[in-house]
């Protein structure tokens, strides 16, 4: 039996509908991108301090698993971009759109864009 703290019973998150998933995808992709940015910036700034090391690092991006990771990052960026545009439309445009459909659409467009990237990368 669950129990003890009353909030253990009452604080269970209410999940499992389309826009909640859109929300958590937007949040998690945002966190992941924010964590990736310092690494991204550091690698690029090698061009200033240590150009040979930058080339070594870029050679590392030829590894298959790095390509998959790159695809993941592009996918997250596309998700955050298109998901964010949907939110801006919801908040600032004076029309009521079918937001479940739009959320599904952002997923499809993101998969397409990052898929194109992946096909170019391999």
């Amino acid at each position: 039996m669950r129990g003890g703290d009353p909030n253990a019973a009452t604080r269970r998150p209410v999940r499992g509908h389309a826009l909640w998933y859109a929300h958590i995808i937007h949040r998690v992709s945002g966190i992941a991108l924010a964590l990736f940015l310092p690494l991204h910036f550091w690698v690029l700034s090698l061009a200033l301090t240590d150009a040979a090391r930058l080339d070594n690092f870029l050679a590392f991006t030829e590894l298959p698993f790095v390509k998959v990771a790159e695809f993941g990052l592009v996918f997250l960026l596309a998700l955050h971009l298109f998901g964010g545009m949907r939110l801006m439309a919801l908040e600032w445009l004076p029309w009521r759109a079918p937001h479940k459909t739009l959320a599904a659409g952002t997923l499809a467009v993101s998969a397409f864009v990052s898929g194109v990237f992946f096909l170019q990368a391999i």
Partner: protein, 110 residues
Amino acid sequence: MLDFRLYMAQRLSALIMAPLVVGHLAVMIYAVQGGLSAGEILGRTQGSLFWALFYGGFVVAVSVHAAIGLRTVISEWTRLRGGMLNGVAMAIFATLLVMGGRAVLAVTLV
């Protein structure tokens, strides 16, 4: 009013970034063909005022946007509040701005 100001800064930085991210996605898809090399990247960006402004604007907007976004997530998912919370957000902003600014300089300076 802090909540409202942060909201506006978050949304305005998002609107600035939207076209920049579309551009960045296009550049990535174009540039990744045939593999990445320092020479190729720097050949495109070094000495270019356009790319300096493009990525410079990107860095400023993303620093604002990510700091506010992470501040919200941290406040909802942890117990951090008040001055500590704002301190962490400012630290995120400063870190991204400095590191990003350095990266933009590195790839655009001749």
